[in-house]
């Protein structure tokens, strides 16, 4: 379940059960890259507390086939808005424990503004448009995580 973004070989998009290595992703963003002065990355981690409950782990479900397509569209949209050179986006699925890595978004660009904005934009849209769903194991049993209004409102900053 890994797919290079066909529209630009500088971008890498993957959906996978396996963990990812931030040092490797960062190295890929820098490798043979003499033109970029800025790298911004985001990682999302499983938190112990969420929506008022103690969490002991979670399962990430997705819609295979749509997921890669949605992520590629989000990355393409970000690249059309800002002059970014490389994007690496990895999202895990399956069973995860507290503090596990969920998602990585890394962006390199000549300048910091484009790198910050594109990375932030990709995360905001991923939160609203990419077909992933979290089911948490809490002290009260399993529950599906509720989508939050604040994530929908976060898109407002990009209008």
């Amino acid at each position: 379940m890994s797919a290079e973004n066909a529209s630009n070989s500088q971008h890498y998009i993957a959906v996978q059960q396996a963990d990812f290595d931030v040092a490797h992703e960062y190295a890929e963003l820098r490798k043979d890259n003499r033109s970029d002065g800025a790298v911004v990355f985001f990682t999302g981690l499983v938190r112990e507390m969420n929506q008022g409950s103690q969490v002991s782990g979670l399962t990430l479900e997705h819609y295979p086939g749509m997921t890669e397509k949605a992520l590629q569209q989000i990355v393409a949209d970000a690249c059309s808005r800002w002059p970014v050179n490389r994007v690496r986006l990895i999202h895990r699925v399956g069973t995860l424990a507290i503090s596990d890595q969920i998602v990585f978004v890394g962006v390199s660009s000549s300048h910091r503004e484009a790198a910050f904005d594109a990375c932030y934009y990709i995360m905001d849209y991923l939160k609203n448009r990419a077909p992933f769903w979290k089911k948490e194991v809490t002290s009260d049993g399993e529950r599906w995580v509720e989508a939050l209004d604040k994530d929908k409102q976060a898109l407002g900053k990009w209008q």
């Binding site: 086939g65 991923l126 448009r129 769903w133 509720e146």
Partner: protein
Amino acid sequence: MNILFFAALREQLGCAQCDIALPLPASLATVRAALIQHFPQQADLFVQGRALAAINQTLINDENTPVNSGDEVAFFPPVTGG
């Protein structure tokens, strides 16, 4: 036509997909209404905003979008990845 369900919606309906009889092309709104008829006990699950829809793996916001024969249609709850 065949419709896919994911996550909480799949669990609440108790099935990952269903077949409904519907003349195509039809609007997404018509498909949504047919689902409500098909699952009368769980009609509220399909309210717009509570169940998002994708046609051919693309999220669709316009309920007037046509669904054609052979399209892959899916309904699912608001997403919670990241």
